[in-house]
């Protein structure tokens, strides 16, 4: 049983060059494979007079290998990436360097930045693994056996088993492979940063009309948007697309008189969809809390009513009460009580934030006793508390949304979510209309009635109005 897991090469006392066991901590490459084969072949020819069974030389590695803790650098590297991921949350936005923001789920776009490297390695190694069917334990077992062999190997190369030419060629191959790896990595990184730059530029251009035609005004200027903010906005845009889809599903579900169980499933799906945005905001708060707090992630009209980086739950409930007409006494009480609790919680958080702001003002205004750097350090540590408030506010929003289906029937809950979605959709539409409205002198020779015509033209195309 144990023998089954030991590589063929080791069983037969052949030299197993450890160079292919990732000592450089980088991905496996052809140079090393070739070296292993050549060395193997040379030794085997000497010992047994036949060419090496190269297939059997590589056991379950590298897939197993990757998952083995502490057996080598490669395993260590995955752990490092993992811990890097964990520690990123405690780092500021400045240290965040996303490699690839492309992702399906909002949260994984930040993860993928670090997984990308791992993925590439794994893919390379998967291609190379010549015996995928072989399972079993990892090289943990073979590692202790391999080490003494490695020493033997060092001794053996001085025995002139391989001519200098072959050795040199192998070394050159290794180098070439390494260089191309690094080139590829640099290229990919360049692509990704260009992509982010491009998105930044696009966003700046989009914002320009609403801030006046001057680029580089207070909020504008390329590079004023952090990459964390860019990713946040990208993921939010994707979330909005998903939102449209969910809403139309809910709409058809309600109108087609779906069963309560099916409707409940839809409502739960919609709740998970909302959980997703809060997860995204949680991560964005770590990288760029100001982006959330200033509301730059939302549309201008929504920004107008911003409370602590998002919507004010009690306001939303007020809207719902007015839109959900036939409510039983019990339901009305439930909703009003929810509104009341929410108001109390909002008030408490607002007062906490106010105290933080006051404390920050005191620090920044400073006294003669505090020197500049220390003052900044204190101010920075106080700023760090902002994230906590945004998180609690989002928590409040999330809990409020989850409470709705508990106090209402499933149909009413579905209608609630539709109302909410449509309301914010209209605010966003309002923002676009406002941004693209003609502004007197800038559009010369315009009749006053043109404005209304434009509005009429725009209106039918807005799906948000379809429900009016």
């Amino acid at each position: 049983m144990a023998n089954h897991h030991i590589p063929y090469a080791l069983l037969h006392g052949m030299n197993v060059p450890t160079s292919f066991i990732n000592q450089e901590g980088s991905a496996f490459d052809f140079g090393e494979l070739e070296e292993a084969i050549v060395l193997q072949g040379a030794k085997a020819n000497l010992l047994t007079g036949r060419t090496a069974a190269t297939l059997e030389m590589f056991p379950s590695w590298p897939m197993r290998y990757q998952q083995t803790p502490g057996s080598s650098k490669s395993g260590g590297e995955s752990t490092d990436s993992g811990s890097a991921l964990n520690t990123i949350s405690s780092k500021t936005e400045n240290q965040f360097e996303p490699d690839s923001p492309i992702s399906k789920k909002a949260s994984s776009s930040y993860h993928q930045a670090f997984d990308q490297q791992n993925l590439q390695q794994q893919q390379q190694q998967q291609e190379m693994a010549s015996d995928p069917s072989r399972t079993g334990t990892s090289l943990n077992q073979s590692a202790p056996i391999v080490k003494p062999l490695q020493e033997k190997k060092r001794a053996s190369t001085s025995e002139k088993q391989l001519d200098a030419k072959t050795l040199r060629r192998l070394a050159q191959n290794r180098e070439a492979a390494k260089k191309s790896r690094l080139r590829k990595k640099a290229y990919v990184q360049q692509l990704e940063s260009s992509r982010i730059k491009l998105t930044q530029l696009e966003q700046e251009l989009q914002r320009a009309p609403s801030q006046g035609l001057l680029l580089g005004s207070s909020g504008g200027g390329v590079g004023n948007i952090s990459s964390g903010a860019v990713i946040c906005d990208m993921e939010y845009a994707r979330w909005l697309e998903d939102d449209e889809r969910h809403m139309s599903e809910l709409r058809t579900g309600l109108h087609s008189n779906l069963s309560d169980t099916d409707l409940r499933l839809m409502v739960n799906t919609y709740l998970s969809h909302y959980d997703e945005i809060f997860r995204l905001k949680g991560m964005a708060a770590k990288f760029d809390v100001f982006h959330l707090l200033t509301g730059m992630w939302t549309s201008p009209a929504e920004r107008c009513f911003l409370w602590m980086g998002g919507f004010r739950p009690s306001e939303l409930i007020k809207i719902l009460i007015s839109q959900l007409d036939p409510l039983t006494e019990q339901q009305l009480m439930g909703i009003c009580s929810l509104q009341h609790s929410s108001q109390q919680a909002e008030e408490a958080l607002s007062q906490g934030l106010e105290q933080l702001q006051q404390s920050l003002i005191d620090t920044v205004a400073g006294g003669p006793a505090i020197d500049g750097m220390q003052q900044m350090a204190i101010a920075l540590s106080k700023l760090a508390n902002l994230e906590g408030f945004v998180r609690q506010a989002d928590n409040l929003r999330q809990q409020t949304l989850h409470q709705l289906p508990r106090i209402l029937t499933v149909r009413q809950a579905a209608r609630c979510f539709l109302v909410i979605g449509e309301y914010y959709g209209r605010l966003r539409a309002l923002s676009s209309l406002w941004a693209s409205r003609p502004r007197g002198r800038l559009m010369s020779d315009e009749q006053p009635c043109q404005t209304t015509t434009e509005l009429q033209m725009v209106q039918p195309s807005q799906s948000h109005f379809s429900h009016f």
Binding site: A345, A348, Q355, L356, G388, N395
Partner: protein, 126 residues
């Protein structure tokens, strides 16, 4: 306004209280002595928010400022161990029972479980 300025209801000097050497023991003992107990840090603004929440509901919380207690550091660590390392002050006990940090408190207020707990503990009357 129920609570004004810095006087948070019963603000008891900790030196006169529990003699237990184990910080966790002390925490539990202190937590069971009042209807609503908040373990706080005086400079923490989220703790201020928690205090404001209870005062706004008409509740009179007992606040222990861990940074003003010589053994506060140990107690803070014991609380962190109890809740898991991501949780931090403010930490709330009601009727001797652990409610949790701020997000748990908010969640239980929103889902309607906080008020019954307060009434049960005698901190709130109709």
């Amino acid at each position: 306004m129920y609570c004004e300025g810095d006087s948070w209801g019963c603000y008891l000097p900790m030196s006169l209280r529990s003699m237990g050497s184990d910080p966790m023991e002390r925490v539990v003992k202190l937590a069971s002595e009042s209807a609503v107990v908040i373990f706080s840090v005086s400079s923490c603004c989220m703790c201020h928010a928690a205090k404001r929440l209870f005062c706004g509901m008409g509740v009179n919380p007992t606040v222990y400022e861990l940074d003003q207690d010589p053994r506060g550091k140990e107690m803070e660590m014991a609380l962190t161990t109890l809740l898991g390392n991501s949780q931090t002050v403010p930490i709330v006990f009601i009727g001797g029972k652990l409610i949790g940090a701020m997000d748990r408190v908010m969640a239980s207020h929103i889902n309607g479980s906080l008020v019954p707990l307060l009434k049960e503990a005698g901190a709130l009357w109709l």
